[in-house]
């Protein structure tokens, strides 16, 4: 292969989306991953594409656009990844006011928000506990199967002339005069003026290899998977505590429930969050809490069996915003990482922000809030 216009490191959803956007913009792209396609966090997450859990601000703007870009991506590469606008329902168990206030703010920011009363709520979710009598419905909330999405997007990249090399660990980034020149991997060295760091939780390592730095850390999460069941849950249903958790910086374990069905018939119950580094051990107590919360929302789930549980490490930045944009210390090094618990949802939007800047077009929003600069200021 002659030198590609851009090298994308990471074949997760962030890397795949970038590779497709760049390919569609006319660049030749090489994707490298040390593992297989979707072997990182993308293979350990759920496929929620949510607008309902985001405070008005840059992340919500990105999420709204990214959600639409998911459907564009589906028209572009085909209906292969179970993309579905199934809608989300947020309920409040104790105090409804914060939930309703939050919804009002979101409506003002352009989110489609529908408050639903007792009857409507139970029409939408017949098995929801009768104890809950009102909620907020978010028709835009969607879902996909992220592993299949990354794989099919990268398949399209290959068919359009790009190259994907799996099992290739990047060991060093060549730079000269503050610009990237290429990468060294255990499957060969490749030169390119543009390198996209889409290595998720490991993005800090790549930044360091290039002589820069990025404070991305892992945040462990568990997901419970049940045995296949008939369709009992029609939307993504979650407790409003979840929204509070997402925005929290508390390192202790927090749990809150998101319950949803999948096309395969299994029910997914997420998502716990704790920040204890890469400790992969199973914690029975967390499983219990997630189960208790899910069955209190949907008592019918009491008889459904837990089949397995898996954990993954969400990549997060200290301010809980993703890092999207060119490195402020090393030219030609771009980051799309640190998307935490929203990396699936935000991937195509992030790819478009980066691609627009690379090819010199005006992006759909001001990318400044996501710039890596915010962590690299005093370091130069």
């Amino acid at each position: 292969m002659k030198s590609p216009d851009a090298i994308v490191i990471g074949a997760g959803i962030a890397g795949a989306s970038c590779a497709l956007a760049l390919t569609n913009a006319g660049l030749t792209v090489l994707v490298l991953d040390r593992g297989p396609v979707a072997g990182g966090t993308t293979g350990a997450g759920e496929g929620n594409i949510l607008v309902s859990d985001k405070d008005p601000g840059p992340e919500l703007t990105l999420a709204l656009r990214s959600r639409d870009l998911w459907f564009d991506m589906q028209s572009d590469v085909g209906d292969h990844f179970e993309l579905e606008a199934k809608g989300g329902i947020v309920v409040a168990r104790h105090d409804e006011k914060p939930l309703k206030d939050f919804a009002a703010k979101q409506r003002a920011a352009g989110v489609d928000v529908q408050e639903v009363g007792d009857r409507e709520l139970h029409e939408l979710e017949p098995f929801l506990t009768p104890e809950i009598t009102s909620g907020v419905f978010y028709p835009q909330d969607s879902q996909c199967q992220p592993m299949l999405a990354a794989a099919h997007v990268l398949r399209a990249v290959r068919l359009r002339g790009g190259q994907v090399i799996t099992g290739a660990t990047v060991k060093a980034i060549d730079t000269s005069g503050g610009r990237v020149q290429g990468v060294q991997s255990d499957k060969g060295n490749f030169s390119s003026p543009i390198i996209i760091n889409a290595t998720g939780t490991w993005a800090g390592d790549i930044a360091t290899m290039a002589g820069s730095h990025l404070p991305i850390a892992p945040r462990k999460g568990f997901i419970l998977v049940t045995a296949p069941a008939p369709k009992l849950i029609h939307h993504k249903v979650y407790d409003s505590d979840y929204v509070a958790n997402v925005a929290s910086s508390d390192a202790d374990l927090q749990t809150s429930t998101v319950v949803e069905g999948t096309r395969a018939g299994t029910i997914l119950i997420g998502a716990s969050r704790e920040r204890i580094g890469f400790d992969g051990r199973m914690n029975v107590d967390i499983l219990r809490r997630l189960a208790a919360q899910a069955t209190s929302l949907f008592p019918i789930l009491r008889d459904i069996q837990l089949l397995r549980a898996y954990r993954g490490f969400r990549p997060y930045a200290p301010d809980h915003l993703p890092v999207i944009g060119e490195d402020s210390l090393i030219q030609g090094l771009w980051h799309s990482a640190g998307h935490e618990g929203a990396g699936i949802g935000l991937a195509p939007g992030s790819a478009h922000l980066i691609t627009a800047q690379i090819i010199g077009k005006t992006p759909f929003m001001d990318p400044a809030p996501f710039s890596p600069k915010r962590f690299q200021a005093g370091a130069a």
Binding site: P228, P230, D303
Partner: protein
């Protein structure tokens, strides 16, 4: 002898028999149909490992017919 129903059919069984043993003793083998292909399935490993024989027992889905013992009046469906 005790009796239970399987897909509305009354079946007599000896106490201590599993659902699968009781159904097999009538000569019937088909226990359920698959989710996607609708294909007939029966017991396969016979010891609770493969989950091919799952039936609904008194309203609870995904119960292994090869492990669960029948009880009088039990309602079993595919």
């Amino acid at each position: 002898m005790i009796s239970f129903t399987f897909n509305n059919q009354k079946i007599e069984a000896i106490e201590g028999m599993t659902i699968a043993a009781a159904i097999f003793s009538t000569g019937e083998k088909v226990l359920r149909q698959t989710r996607f292909g609708g294909d007939d399935r029966s017991i396969f490993c016979g010891i609770g490992i493969c989950w091919d024989c799952v039936v609904t027992v008194d309203g609870v889905i995904n119960q292994r017919a090869c492990l669960i013992q029948v009880s009088d009046g039990m309602v079993v469906t595919s």
